[in-house]
Symmetry: C2
């Protein structure tokens, strides 16, 4: 692994796949050179357009992602995909999954797929996700897809980083879609009801149309609800066109800048959490006395609230 930052930077810029993969690992591992590299990239690189794709498992997101990427490839666009796996850092799960799921595009040299964990090694949202967006951007990718496999609060926060968020669901999601109401409204710029050949597909489109009709009535953007069948390649170009329309909308209304500032804020919070974990929580957990605290709390000799007050005696 090369340690010369300038050389790393230049090789990433050339699109050297091995170096891109190495650079992401350096950043994920929190190495000093990874940090130096990111400081340089941050000041010199404009992030490429980010598209978030989210939705419940089984909704066919990976197939849909592949199809959209194939359309972009016909326009000669380069695409980076960050696939977020809902596996914990500790089980080391987020390394292989997605190349398998996206086998139709994974051999294309102009498509780069990287799987990442939701969390960083010290808890908190994984700040390496946005670092990876920037590394891909330096490498000249035109679009970056952030796909989350899980559907939880962390995953919603991650796709919110994206400029355009596509929320995918299926006709069957029925009742429970109601439970997502608030989350949906927050997150979706474009809604997709995939597997349109199944029963109740049109009903689901209507349900979502109704839910999103209440969304921020003062905003000009009315999220479209698109019916697709990814396996049969139906409706995919509609999604691609709506992504372009949403991009134009953001530019016309100077909202892209606002979104990018939100991303910077989120990234800073992630970095602050990481710093605090490293400085305060990690040493406490690694202290040989920590298991004794747990033992005493288990035995009801003390409680966790007082113990934390004692371990973190801030004013």
């Amino acid at each position: 692994m090369t340690n010369d930052i300038e050389k790393l930077y230049a090789e990433i810029q050339k699109g050297n796949e091995n170096i891109i993969a190495q650079a992401i690992s350096m950043v994920e591992d929190g190495t000093k050179n990874g940090l130096k590299l990111m400081k340089k990239i941050y000041k010199n690189v404009e992030p490429a357009y980010m598209v978030g794709i989210s939705g419940p498992p089984g909704s066919g997101k990976s197939t849909l992602t592949q199809r959209i990427v194939q359309l972009w490839r016909k326009q000669n666009k380069k695409v980076g995909i960050i696939a977020i796996d809902p596996t914990s850092h500790f089980s080391g799960g987020a390394l292989l999954g997605d190349r398998v799921r996206m086998n139709e595009i994974s051999t294309d040299p102009n498509v780069f797929i990287r799987s990442m964990a939701t969390r960083g090694s010290l808890g908190g949202l994984n700040s390496s996700i946005y670092d990876t967006v920037l590394i891909f951007s330096l490498a000249g990718f035109d679009y970056i897809i952030i796909e989350t496999v899980g559907v939880g609060q962390n995953e919603i926060d991650i796709v919110k980083l994206a400029d355009t968020t596509v929320f995918v669901t299926v006709p069957e999601a029925g009742d429970e879609i109601q439970a997502y109401k608030a989350g949906l409204m927050e997150v979706g710029d474009i809604f997709v009801v995939n597997k349109s050949d199944r029963p109740n597909s049109q009903q689901m489109v209507l349900t979502i149309e109704q839910l999103v009709s209440f969304k921020d009535e003062d905003k000009e953007w009315k999220p479209p609800v698109i019916s697709t069948n990814a396996l049969k390649n139906k409706g995919i170009s509609d999604i691609k066109d709506w992504i372009t329309k949403h991009h134009d909308y953001l530019l016309d209304n100077k909202l892209l800048k606002e979104n990018r500032k939100q991303v910077i804020k989120a990234q800073m919070i992630n970095l602050m959490e990481k710093t605090l974990n490293e400085k305060y929580i990690k040493p406490i957990l690694e202290d040989e006395k920590f298991p004794e605290h747990i033992e005493q709390i288990y035995d009801k000799k003390k409680d966790p609230y007082s113990t934390v007050e004692e371990l973190m005696p801030f004013d």
Copy 2:
């Protein structure tokens, strides 16, 4: 709202529904009395048996939960349900949802349902979730169900608090179940394939059986895979029986104690994160100079890594 901790404690113990609801709100809001109450509860109350129910949206978890609760009610058991919604704290979404979804049991005075957000007000896992478990335990509930609507890393961490975790899926989840492989192995003590009337149901049972057969071969517990149809009330008593079997297994192998210690550790980490957020991150975000930092980073005059180093000058 009463401020006398002894009186609050006594009323919760009597099962006074209004006071239970008040106490949970006090804890969620982080009031001083809420903290005092929790310190007292922690030292005096043994947590009731916790059952986590997790799975993708549309898998029918709420219906399944209702049916299991109805079986426990026939045995005159009292049940507390904590329904975790994947809505952000900021949108205030987690207040109404689940009484609607569980209308068959929500009027039963021996069943108490509380919806909560994944995150606390200051980010990090919501430490009030386990506080609520303890309040329910003081109130004499025999079982506490923690149901997560989302399927993400946070949600997996929450159900892992439970003594027995039931992972629900549906025949269609097909390919993407593979993506969950690592998460599944970590999380599930009992697997349920719901909606057994649908095609490929038996195939899905076999797929999961295969996945879990690799799980911790040295452990004695082999997670069962149960086929159910919650709407038609098929297979529910199997789930109930397996929960009892898993409880016995934990007791026989002294694993319940280990799990409870893990819960204490997780709760302490949550509390430490909350403390650090309050002490360090909140003041930075609320400082009037913070938007300037964002502006300068956006303009590429500085980068977020150096800015965080400057804002948190720890050695």
